[in-house]
Symmetry: none
Subunit: 218 residues, 4 copies
DNA sequence: CATGAATGAGTATTCATTCAT
DNA sequence: GATGAATGAATACTCATTCAT
């Protein structure tokens, strides 16, 4: 009884430690994967950056692939949790919701960072089929959120009725996802400014408007 | 000497053959680099796909890096040759020139294909500093072409005067470069249709226009 | 001190527990060594089969080698204790004593099992020199027991005077030791039947006897 | 034409060299597998014994398992080729054929050597399922040869009608296969003598015969 | 032009073992 | 007793590259 209670506590504490360690390792791994790619990053690289030997990684992850998977998994989930309340608030104006989604996504992409790039690109192929399916499912969920906003806007007349919502989703995601390649924190544009510019171009394009005033009155 | 005299002719012929062989190898390599990445593609993979042994590759390329470099170099140059006449035709209407550029780029990206992706993304890091500089220079030249069109359009009033030309270039390139990830030749959209949709969104955005008719009269 | 006084009793009890645990671990280890060999069995395999972590094994055994040694040692001793009274009963008829020895050995080999195989074969090389010597000594003692029976039989005229006792010992042991490779508990032959068949062939061979009747009158 | 002819010759020569090299490596590997077991023998060990680096082994064998397989395969086939003519000569006297089989087997086992042990024992488990099946098939073929001899002898009256042929096959194989564990080339018994002693015991057992003379007149 | 043999550095992964808790 | 973290050495295997032929 006492013993059980005690070990229960210890279990929890140890688990917490372990979880923290895992998170720290994932953080390091993401940075290296980003910089050198999955194949270009050896477990020794990761271990060295963590301050221990490669063999020790196996006390936390069953394989390199598992490490990649957990890195993607955790980050994507956190990201979707952030987006969801905004995206699915069906009473909000679609234009505003789109704006918010772009803001959040760009912010996440640029400030918190490079983690995302991995998940959309080539590194996905290094996942096992099972893991790949799960990550792709999460990714698709993001598309679904955006898609709904566009469709809502078409109904309310905020967006042109003849646009292809699937296509617009791709366009928006494409633009945002590539910001991570050219964005520099020291550059002239802040994430918020970048988000705003993307939003405006997606909304109105680059052609001069007849009634500029109206377009800005939000 | 007989041998020398003879080999003079043969050399030229052989060189031609060699160049053809090199081109064929590069073709194979690009496909594999695209599918598995630079690190994920071994010289044996490439050689096997070519029908000979890995050692033989060294009769054509000094190193794996050289092969990557030549693959990028050649392709980028061919691509720029295609764009240049359109882009630098300063008498053409900017709107039309932009349309053409997008068409050519999308077409190249999707039909001729996957080769491009490599050059913009992560594989560039595997080039030696010297080679990297040259490839980046070519890449920048593309941006310059697009940039000029946008600036021209701002002067002629075709594009809004307050847009950030640099930014718009990034947006357009981002959209086009990612088509390669989601495009399927069997899908519902042809490259030409995709190019047209990109062009329209970049031009007018997704907001409904007041005078839809006017916008389409081209 | 209280602790000391108390621990006196507890120690004894704990030791008993410990001994029991050790025996249980050895049991598990033997099975795994048999199935996968010494090199093919990791301490983690053993620990997992025991339901705890590998590190815990070191609370019972100084090393993997020690575990192997104790497994062999204990089993061989138990086995020899069984054989000895029969083998060294110098008043019994050699033919009967041989029969009994074969019965016991086959039974032990097949029912209690696979443990023995290890000791005669290749796994011995993984013992330290000191331990190896001790195990080989026990093994040799078995040969000695059998040898004496054969020699006794030659004196009494039960066995042919010109047979090579050393050689016959090897033959008998060889036959019995290999039963473990092909015996199946679900097969058509029981251990007792197998022992009987071995005994008869060793005694009379496969050639038809002139007086079959006489040979069976036991 | 000339070129083809030439390369044909070279091919053959190179193949011959390669085959010779492979055979040499297999020879080395067998010795090491015998001494240290499959798991106990590293590819570095083998390579070192061959005088080159471990990586080079992969120019000859796809994997360690392939090396083990080829070692077993080749040797078993050679062995069976030797046995077959004797075993399947259905006009020869079963007693004589049995004698010859034992002689050949023991000789092969002891003079040419230790190679065999591997194939009958535990190392088989390291083969891939496909390879394992093939080796077991060859092994079973050996049993079949022996089995037929025994059955022939039962028909001709050379062997007791009531013996279990399958069992006798096991006994004979068991005895021979274990010789390799205790045989020493410097020992008092030659392979031929060992074969003869095994033959006699299997034929007549260790009990004194009534008519010793008759049994020896061969 | 092509290849087989060879290699040294590197890869992910496993393992027996230690130690503080 | 038991465990998690850590490690150094080893493992099978891969790879880009060289070189003699």
């Amino acid at each position: 009884m006492v013993k059980r209670a005690g070990s229960g506590y210890k279990m929890r504490k140890r688990s917490a430690n372990k979880a923290a360690s895992k998170a720290a390792i994932i953080e390091v791994a993401i940075d290296l994967f980003w910089e050198n790619g999955y194949n270009g990053t050896s477990l020794r690289d990761i271990a060295e950056a963590c301050g221990f030997e490669a063999a020790n990684l196996y006390n936390y992850f069953r394989s390199k692939e598992q490490l990649l998977y957990e890195a993607m998994q955790e980050e994507l989930e956190r990201f979707l949790e952030l987006l969801e309340p905004v995206a699915s608030d069906s009473r909000g104006a679609p234009v505003e919701r789109l704006k918010r989604i772009i803001e959040i996504h760009v912010e996440r992409m640029l400030v918190i960072g490079r983690r995302y790039k991995m998940m959309y690109d080539s590194e996905i192929r290094h996942l096992s089929p099972v893991h790949r399916k799960r990550i792709v499912a999460l990714r698709d969920y993001y598309s679904e959120l955006l898609f709904n906003i566009i469709e809502d806007g078409k109904k309310t007349g905020d967006f042109a009725a003849d646009i292809d919502a699937r296509f617009v989703v791709l366009i928006i995601a494409s633009i945002i996802m590539r910001t991570v390649f050219w964005f520099s924190p020291k550059g002239r544009l802040s994430p918020a400014e970048i988000a705003d510019m993307i939003y405006k171009i997606v909304l109105d394009g680059i052609r001069p408007r007849k009634q500029e005033v109206k377009a800005r009155k939000k």
